[in-house]
Subunit: 238 residues, 2 copies
């Protein structure tokens, strides 16, 4: 019985080929038949490894999210810097795979690497002294900003050409807004400005929190010197 000769396919090889295909030719190129062809295999073979195409896409997305650097959350970096470094790493990972961003931005973040990511952010913020409910919200809003920026910046396709529409009706919008070259610069600037504004706004809240904490003694606010002991318990307070 020479049965255990190695299978032609496995999830890892399929995901890798799918990501390469999407990166090189866009999301529309990823059909089951085309992907199977890239793997020198017949279309339905893929269904031995993934139940549906959506499940395959989920795996591709999770692989990309796995590229996001999370090390800044465990090296004792102060939370604002950690959040900034992480947001930029997140954006860079999405910029490297622009065509998958629409799938990623939409999909519920319950794949393994998405959960690792959410967990790392949450842990860092709670460690720093943020209440658990706030930490949850901050993690979410940061992801929303990064993915929203990435969608508009990378996935939007190239504006076909200037002069596509009449400028007459938009008194404040100038020619520059329609130039593709400038669009990338605006997007990068918008991301950086938004990121810094967000961090400043959060820092302001953190100061108020610390002051309230010091005045009110131990309310529901966990001080920033709390040890690990309290936070690995399970509930998130959100």
């Amino acid at each position: 019985m020479p049965r255990p000769r190695t299978p032609l396919l496995n999830r890892e090889r399929i995901v890798a080929a799918a990501l390469r295909l999407v990166d090189e030719e866009g999301l529309a190129a990823l059909s089951t038949r085309r992907l199977a062809g890239e793997l020198s295999v017949s279309g339905p073979s893929l269904y031995n490894h993934f139940a549906t195409k959506d499940e395959l896409l989920d795996a591709v997305v999770d692989g990309v999210i796995g590229e996001v650097d999370l090390s800044m959350f465990t090296t004792g970096t102060p939370w604002p810097e950690a959040l900034r470094d992480w947001a930029r790493s997140y954006r860079a990972a999405l910029a490297a795979h622009p065509h998958i961003v629409p799938v990623l931005a939409q999909g519920p973040g319950r794949r393994p690497n998405a959960l690792r990511l959410a967990d790392a952010v949450f842990g860092c913020l709670v460690e720093a002294g943020w209440p658990r409910g706030q930490a949850t919200r901050i993690g979410a809003l940061m992801r929303y900003f990064v993915t929203g920026s990435a969608l508009a910046s990378f996935a939007a396709g190239f504006p076909e050409d200037a002069g596509l529409y009449d400028a007459a009706d938009y008194p404040h919008l100038g020619e520059a807004h329609r130039l593709a070259e400038h669009r990338a610069a605006v997007d990068e600037g918008a991301f950086e400005t938004g990121l810094e504004a967000l961090l400043d706004g959060l820092a302001l809240r953190f100061e108020r929190l610390e002051q309230a904490g010091h005045r009110g003694g131990q309310g529901d606010h966990q001080g920033s010197r709390t040890t690990n002991a309290g936070r690995a318990a399970g509930s998130t307070g959100s």
Copy 2:
């Protein structure tokens, strides 16, 4: 020649039927054949009014963007309040049509109503004294945050069920994160927290700007008392 009997179809009727179909049955239900059926017409008929399905989707999206309230930008409301009211109105419009958000978030914002929207925000900020380049970035980052939030909140589909994945590997994430009921509350909280943080962060920058302006005389910073005269000229400085 009884030619001018009114046509069965027109763009307006098609767009309205498409939006209704998407709202009621989701984006996947919007096929050309299905939509044509709703309009009691044959599939290819639609191509007499839209060159492609994408062009039709663009029109649907622009209709939704047209629902966003922009009146706060022309009533002399201070820019932070105007921006806050607008962001909430924007979010509400997307919440009313959750299934179209993925298309909207991705599509380049060069349809008429998207341009009207961008123009209104830009005009308000420049009027308030923001430099044109900054005004452009702020408009963009606000859109990114609103659409990013909306995508994750409304378009993400319902998390199938709790217990889909093992909790063991995510020490900080508790059961609450997996409950659909709590997800909506977290999303709303994340949006509001992010919006306020963003506005605070921008207000901080505006203060610094004003101070620099008063110190440095008239640099490239247009004072907040500038009249309309200067800004309808066309170029945006971005």
